[in-house]
Subunit: 448 residues, 2 copies
């Protein structure tokens, strides 16, 4: 009974330089934390009202954590202690660099400095059918929807007439052997072993197949060959079918067809195969390359000294990182902090300092006592010690004392009980309504 | 890509008597816990896959708890340790007492004993307009939707052009002065005082009005007049506008019109004014009275010795309770346990024992140190001691060790920080799409 057209941005006028930040992820949030509100007016736009710790999103999808454990309301992170900070939950639809304004769903705003920190979105490589039928895992509603889909698949496998359709409910196909795909596959294997047989005493979970499909010749391609090989072995130990050098050609919601012709019946195709930058329209083609903004070492977008891009959406080529930084949290966090200093340098008319990425290494977890780590100086860890490192690092970087506590408590509980606790089927608002699960929820709503 | 028509109930044949239970709430769950699987085959239907502790649902709506803290998956409660127990997540649409079958969305099932434990649903007293535009608070998706609605109202109040519409976003009208309405109003008053001013530094929350509207001449009508009066005083102390003897005539999503003509502009009308039994079609009119099944002291439905009703859906008139038992958890819990014994008595050909309700008293909380309690023998408590009793009783009756721990941790955290932690805006699947919040989520989804 109220329409978006009745809204306006309602940002107070200011004489200070106005920094407009698009996106409250790792980059945007670390920029705000380090930017003095005395010297700037800071405006942040995000279409969600929370900052998410996305490395743990797969645990929401596999009923290990509730969303509140890995997400923090942006207004709670940046409360009244942050001077002259203004958050608006609204989507930015365009940039006008000539006028120095951004356009949102509810109006325009002039900026002095614009920071694009929009991160990435799922990339279906133009395949509309896969986009329509597959389950992505990029946002909180995606994770909740995937959780419901997985649990409803088991409910329905328990009730289906046709054995071939039952098998298609028990075949889970994860496309993409990066960290998301690997960690999701590992968590599903643990559920299959420890949770599902108790929940469905009559069902034979040896028939549940978890496929992990990767186009390249190894899983975790950004990590070292040693860690990739170790990970593949761990995955196979816990019963995951790893298919390397395999590309998906099509998926119609029932059958996955691979290039080469092989087919798997599956009601659940999880798409973790690729991302592309969540660019905003309005900048000329030379400002970006394959969906990422080209930036110099000060994070300035090519051709626009007052527009910056940080994190996954930025492509900064350096001698050490000729293809840009890896698409993980650390470069975004470090660039956010660094840009805060450079914006202060600009208004104080001091020289800008180039960004240098400090690589702390990378980690992936497959299950209990099974993890891999690549550390600086070409050190590789695996097994129990890498697993402990993974737990420690993820707790350490989680936002907020309460989240750390809740996640730690959940993990300790799970360690002793083997239980995934949040197995509630609650469908969030998503456009897809093609599964029996969605139909079930909708038809019940119609009956009320 | 799978339709409900492809499903079937798939319950194994049995020579034991089959008990079919409709509903996994307080009544149904306590029945299963106490019914020996050696002597019965037990089948439970519920449209949700979880048992909810509904007395705390208002805390999900006010961002105090996540759903997993107050809900427990039914398959986790009744796992492989429960012999010959079969849960199916499916809605029952009818009963055929002549054939001794129940009809569900995916097929029919024969019963030997049928237990109706369906509880209640929101009652709009035939007003379709109120049903369409108001926010109920009966189920988990209702609570998540209300949470998003409340938080988005503040986001939008911050961005609205028209001051009159802003006021309509800041006017929250709760209809119904029972425990749900009172506890929700109290929680909103605490948010207004401790959380919202920090979240929205530019906004004047003295303009946020919380109305609690009750048709009778006192709040908490089932409690003692002393507790009602104390509660009204507490509510007014924390700044809630209590309107007694007031009935809502209409609500179009913008304006609440009361009988007598008074009007309040409000975008959020919360309907906690009444419930009616969630009856199942198929039994003759003489089996029920005003939406509740008439049962004798053995919980047998009038005219059907093999059909039982327990909890809120049952109307058992006794000398002590001539209008039936109160619609709270305790009668349902006690009847579930009691019926388990009586079903055993039936198959062992022993006489049935009549149910006697043991009234443990009732409690309501308004805020920190503000609660009321009516205890047996006409004892009334209020203030700090009633507040402590409320906290203790709710933790004690929560299902599951993990839930107790999570809720307790959340409450301790909140006690010290005054924070409502789960302020995430995530819209679950609901039929209503009339608010700007829903439109916002939908229009964003369209842009992706």
């Amino acid at each position: 009974m109220l329409h978006i057209e009745q809204l306006t941005l309602n940002i107070p006028d200011t004489t200070k330089p106005r920094v407009v930040i698009i996106g409250g992820g790792f980059g945007g949030a670390n920029l705000v934390k380090n930017l003095p509100g005395k010297e700037f007016q800071i405006v942040m736009f995000d279409r969600n009202n929370y900052h998410g710790f996305w490395p743990l999103l797969y645990q929401v999808a596999t009923a290990g954590l509730e969303p509140d454990a890995i997400a923090e309301p942006l207004r709670k992170m940046f409360d009244e202690d942050y001077e002259d900070f203004h958050f608006r939950q609204v989507k930015v639809t365009g940039i006008n660099p000539a006028e120095k304004t951004v356009t949102t769903l509810v109006g325009d705003l002039r900026y002095d400095f614009l920071v694009i920190a929009t991160g990435t979105k799922s990339n279906y490589f133009g395949n509309e059918q896969i986009k329509k039928y597959s389950f992505p895992l990029k946002q909180v509603p995606d994770a909740l929807n995937l959780r419901s889909q997985l649990l409803q698949s088991f409910e329905q496998a328990n009730m289906i007439k046709d054995p071939e359709v039952r098998q298609s409910l028990l075949n889970i196909v994860i496309v993409g052997g990066g960290p998301t795909g690997v960690e999701l596959a590992g968590a599903l294997a643990e559920m299959r072993r420890h949770v599902l047989p108790g929940d469905y005493p009559g069902m034979d979970f040896s028939k549940m197949n978890i496929y992990l499909v990767e186009g390249m010749d190894r899983v975790l391609p950004p990590m070292s060959p040693e860690s990739s090989e170790k990970t593949r072995r761990y995955l196979e130990e816990v019963g995951i079918i790893v298919k390397l050098n395999t590309l998906v050609e099509s998926y119609d919601g029932k059958v996955v067809t691979f290039k080469g012709g092989e087919q798997i019946y599956s009601q659940t195709l999880i798409w973790a195969a690729g991302v592309s930058g969540a660019t905003v329209s309005g900048l000329p083609p030379e400002a970006s390359e394959r969906g990422r903004y080209l930036v110099n070492t000060f994070n300035q977008v090519n051709g626009f000294p007052d527009i910056f891009a940080i994190g996954d959406i930025a492509l900064m080529r350096t001698e050490k990182w000729p293809k840009g930084h890896p698409g993980v949290a650390q470069p975004a966090i470090q660039q956010g902090k660094h840009l805060a200093k450079n914006l202060v340098n600009i208004v104080r008319r001091q020289p800008l300092k180039p960004f240098e990425y400090f690589d702390k290494g990378s980690l992936a977890i497959i299950g209990r006592n099974r993890a891999v780590a690549d550390l600086p100086k070409n050190m590789h860890l695996s097994g129990f010690i890498a697993w402990m490192a993974w737990l420690f690092v993820h707790i350490y970087y989680l936002i907020g004392f309460r989240n750390k506590l809740v996640v730690l408590a959940n993990w300790i509980y799970k360690f002793f009980t083997y239980e995934n606790s949040t197995r509630l089927i609650i469908r969030p608002f998503v456009r897809k309504e093609d599964t029996a699960g969605q139909e079930f929820v909708r038809r019940q709503a119609d009956l009320d």
